[in-house]
């Protein structure tokens, strides 16, 4: 018996000629895990395998040590899920819908409590078809939490939400995790959000997990050679840096900021190197700092794959 919430071993799944999962392995401890990857990498397929909606061609997957191929009512009763494109009955109200969904589970949170949690109390008695896309997303999150789950799978939970909505959802996820020891597996394309909420990150590319670990470790590991160069003119700075030996990649990140990736031997004296480069030009060099975000790490990994 392992302590893993999710354990996936060497899972392969093909749809015709397309290999959606290619020997994927993933172990998830109780935490908030962000699953990131480019479009078509296999994120949604993995969620479907975990829910037992599709059977892998080979390999095994389990949640709380229960094989996902045998999806009993008890098994699904411990999992909450928000699909990428969920379907809600258009003529029901959120309150009615959440009440009915709650009764499907052995344990449940009341509809009013859920609505308050996701900030939908004011729209509790409106028809679902009259809700905005963002409100429907919140409703999706609420229904995922209706059965007091121990694991919640969220496929793009913040899509269609405005900035305030995203903040609320992320805060809610962290709060629920801290209070109820609920684990979350979240997929999202908005990496800055995952950075704020997740403890662990797994990167999936072409149906394989290419990296997994704590957020800080991974970012540090993959962005040691990535720097932000601040100058008076980022476009001119980019031109200067482009042809410099030892600088592998350059891109403009704002009017005064350029992101560069350098070779390891360039790192030690980077500041003096850059000062020399701008010396004699008409731009001012203000400084250089190590920049490591999840987005940088992701770009680097995707670039390499």
């Amino acid at each position: 018996m392992s302590d893993y919430v999710i354990s996936v071993q060497d899972v392969t799944k093909s749809f015709g000629n397309v290999k959606a999962l290619d020997g994927l392995s993933l172990d998830m401890e109780p935490c908030i895990l962000g699953l990131i990857g480019p479009n078509g990498a296999g994120k949604t397929t993995l969620i479907r395998v975990l829910l037992g909606l599709i059977k892998p061609d080979s390999g095994s997957a389990s949640i709380f040590n229960s094989d996902t191929s045998n999806t009993s009512r008890d098994f699904l009763g411990r999992i909450g899920v928000l699909h990428e494109n969920p379907y809600f009955p258009p003529l029901m109200t959120p309150r009615q819908y959440l009440t009915d969904v709650g009764f499907l589970y052995p344990q449940r949170v009341s509809a009013d409590e859920l609505l308050a949690m996701v900030g939908l109390s004011d729209a509790a008695d409106r028809k679902i078809r009259n809700l905005s896309a963002g409100m429907k997303r919140r409703l999706g999150l609420a229904q995922a939490l209706a059965g007091k789950p121990k694991l919640v799978l969220l496929d793009e939970p913040t899509s269609n939400l405005d900035i305030t909505g995203r903040d609320q959802v992320l805060r809610l996820i962290v709060e629920i995790h801290q209070q109820g020891k609920v684990s979350f597996l979240i997929t999202s394309h908005i990496l800055s959000e995952l950075e704020r909420a997740c403890h662990q990150i797994a990167v999936i590319v072409n149906g394989k997990i290419v990296e997994q670990g704590s957020l800080d470790e991974l970012v540090e590991k993959h962005t040691q050679c990535r720097f932000r160069v601040i100058s008076s003119d980022s476009l001119k700075m980019e031109k200067i840096l482009k042809d410099e030996q030892g600088i592998i990649d350059v891109f403009v990140d704002g009017s005064k900021s350029v992101i560069i990736e350098v070779s390891p031997d360039y790192v030690e004296n980077i500041e003096s190197h850059l000062e020399e480069l701008v010396n004699g030009s008409d731009i001012k060099f203000y400084g250089v700092e190590n920049t490591g975000t999840l987005e940088d790490m992701f770009r680097r990994l995707i670039g390499h794959e």
Partner: protein
Amino acid sequence: MSENQTRKFSTHRLEINMSYPFPTIVGLLSLFIFVASISLLNLPDFDLDIYLPIGWEPIVVGEELARVIRTLTTRAAVASILNSFYISLLLIPLLIAFNFALSFSNGQIRTLVSYPIEKRDLLLVKSGVLFILIVATVTLGGVFGLVFFYPFTIDVVVLGQFLVPLWITIFLMIASCMFIAVLSRSAPVTAVGGIGVWFGIYVLLPLQSIPSFIVNILYPIFSAMNYVNHEPGSPGYFLGTTSINDVLLGCGAALALGALLLYLSVLVFRRLEV
């Protein structure tokens, strides 16, 4: 209500709300009432021979009047229920196509099977609700028309002899269309396949080469109508004389066939990837 009953009730209510919202139900009922009413309005065109004896003997006139009313009521029942049935021949495949087959692609099935709901329950509730909906609308439509145009003349026994085989025929059609939907997971295939199969059978039935027991099994409603009202123009007239045993055996076999198709649908649905 116990916890288990509440859970079952919630499952059913959720599925009904997802698949058959209230306006759909009202729309269907109105359609069937309209069809039944139109069918009955055309009844005066039917040839109805009245033989009144010379001399106006009250008993004979009374008997003749009773015969005319009985014939008219039976024809009215046949006409209203038969036309409603023809509509359901189209509606059943279409409803299953748009409320079940389509739900594979619009995310409804994926959402539902992610909840702790048995796939068997899901399919049986969807079939059951559709059965109740169609049976209720066909029956109400037919009976409404009869009550409206021929009040106080409805023979409950005659009506029952039509209605029970009609319900069984509807059950068989729903089970077969559900099977097509589960196999194809495609709304167009279900709609075209379902309508094609049942209209195809309907067209082929009068062929002399098809044994009458097949007609009794696939369309129990026709053999029942032929049993009650054997006259030219009746949809089962080509069967010749039909006995009550033929009707009962046909109904039983149709029920068994429908149950088998539903069972197979559940088996396939359990293995489906959504």
